[in-house]
């Protein structure tokens, strides 16, 4: 029997994983979400800003990481508009600004009074990574003289008096790798003293924890679980909370396979002795 299980057809494993994701999506269990300190601090960093503050919101990811980062993109954007903050959107990844447009598209019906150029703007992508981040510290217009549609940023009320990081209350980076949150905190945060929070994929969270525990990141939203926590605090359940049941089940399935694999291994090892 062990031999059969050991040589289990990988399609059966794939099927188990697929079912562990699909079934909870179709029939949500509604497991309670526990708020972690990292996410609470990120939420408070946004929540403590006075209305009218400008935030620089950078989507440093692409569709490959959308499952985890897009729900938090929507939740944070919603939180910013609830708090009447002015949002300057950008991205250090070429797909970032398009992700921002997509996230805004998801919530725009809830905020019909918002005006482009006054309440929010998308200044698009600029190649250069850390040099883009560093140059904003000297003069925002070095990196972004125009918005994504080619309009001079001085013609947009939201950016008419923008200088450098001193013009922003907070930098938010949703980061799937390099360039991303680490660059924002190393140059924007450490050199120019602007507060930075980040949201990251769970697999890359280890890279961000040293900067969070040292206080350089004012908050850290970790993976889909972090997105679900943020959605709960904003009071707008979305894809993050819906995805947590599926993630719970898929983690259980993977743990189950790891245990099963090791039971076979140990049985074979000690059975031979």
């Amino acid at each position: 029997m062990w031999e059969k299980i050991k040589n289990l057809d990988k399609r059966i494993i794939y099927l188990c994983v697929a079912l562990s994701v699909i079934i909870p999506m179709l029939n949500p269990i509604g497991l309670p979400i526990v708020i972690t300190e990292e996410t609470r601090r990120a939420f408070q960093a946004v929540d403590n800003l006075p209305p009218g503050s400008r935030v620089l919101f950078s989507a440093d990811y692409d569709p490959g990481s959308e499952a985890e980062l897009f729900p938090m993109n929507i939740a944070i954007l919603r939180h910013c508009f609830q708090k009447k903050l002015r949002v300057v959107m950008t991205g250090l990844w070429p797909q970032g600004p398009a992700e921002m447009n997509k996230a805004f598209g998801e919530i725009k019906k809830d905020y019909p009074t918002l005006t482009y150029g006054t309440d929010y703007v998308n200044v698009g992508y600029k190649a250069g990574g850390l040099v883009v981040v560093n140059s904003i510290g000297s003069d925002f217009t070095i990196a972004f003289p125009k918005d994504q549609a080619g309009t001079d940023i001085r013609e947009l009320p939201i950016l008419q008096d923008v200088k450098n990081y001193s013009s922003f209350g907070l930098v938010i980076s949703l980061s799937a790798g390099s360039s991303g949150g680490v660059v924002w905190v190393a140059y924007g945060g450490t050199k120019y003293h602007v507060d930075v929070i980040t949201g990251c994929t769970a697999v890359s969270a280890t890279e961000f924890y040293p900067y969070y525990s040292s206080g350089q990141f004012k908050g850290l939203i970790n993976g889909l679980a972090g997105a679900a926590e943020y959605e709960k605090m904003v009071g707008a359940p979305g894809k993050g909370i819906r995805g947590m049941d599926a993630q719970s089940m898929s983690h259980l399935v993977i743990i189950g396979f790891i245990i099963l694999g090791n039971v076979i291994y140990l049985t074979e090892k000690y059975g031979k002795k």
């Binding site: 569709p63 447009n101 070095i142 990196a143 291994y265």
Partner: protein, 207 residues
């Protein structure tokens, strides 16, 4: 001369930007340098595009391995570029470019990444064996972190999130901090060697 001039440029630029980082008085010149870098970065994208097109055009011409896929790549490269150039970027998602991004590019890339879940689960069954003490510790840590990160973990035992947080904030952070500091020291060391001309591999030529 062919080597000395690049070495001199590297030395002067390197020393200048190290000083400029700490000297606000040099910020104007430093800003000009950053503008220059942004232009070079934009040209680097152009070089990457030309390289991509040359590699795949050559593959199609030679009818090499998977040349049909190269045709698809070249076609969609121009298709997406033309649609992007013709459309003005918008926040409403109503343009043709938004359609291409949201309904073609986006699902394709998301699908590619999602396949990882299947490979990881299959690999975890076949390869994650507790053959050593270190592997056993890693599996225990993984067990607590995986369950501590999801609601079902706290439903099973309410201390799973606490243990997960402890592992991430102390063990994982400590190890990552050591790696980061090590990499940073290595980067500083390599930068010094490049600035002073001791490391010349970037010039090419092999010496």
């Amino acid at each position: 001369m062919k080597r000395n001039i690049p070495l001199l440029i590297t030395f002067c630029t390197g020393i200048f930007f190290v000083i400029a980082f700490f000297a606000p008085a040099l910020s104007d010149i430093s800003d000009a340098g950053q503008r220059g870098y942004l232009v070079i970065a934009a040209f680097a994208l152009l070089v990457a595009i030309l390289n991509l097109l040359m590699v795949h055009s050559s593959n199609v011409y030679r009818q090499g391995k998977n040349w049909g896929l190269s045709v698809v790549l070249i076609f969609f490269f121009f298709f997406t570029s033309i649609v992007g150039f013709l459309d003005k970027a918008d926040m409403d998602g109503t343009t043709n470019f938004s359609f291409v991004y949201n309904f073609i590019y986006n699902p394709l890339q998301a699908t590619m990444f999602s396949l990882l879940a299947f490979y990881v689960s299959s690999a975890s069954f076949r390869a994650f064996r507790i053959k050593t003490k270190e592997a056993t510790l890693m599996m225990i840590a993984g067990f607590f972190v995986m369950l501590g990160r999801v609601p079902i973990g706290s439903a099973i035992w309410d201390q799973f999130p606490t243990v997960q947080s402890w592992i991430m904030n102390y063990f994982a952070t400590g190890a990552m901090r050591a790696i980061t500091i090590g990499v940073a020291i290595g980067a500083v060391s390599m930068s010094i060697k490049i600035i002073f001309g001791l490391e010349r591999a970037y010039l090419g030529g092999g010496d």
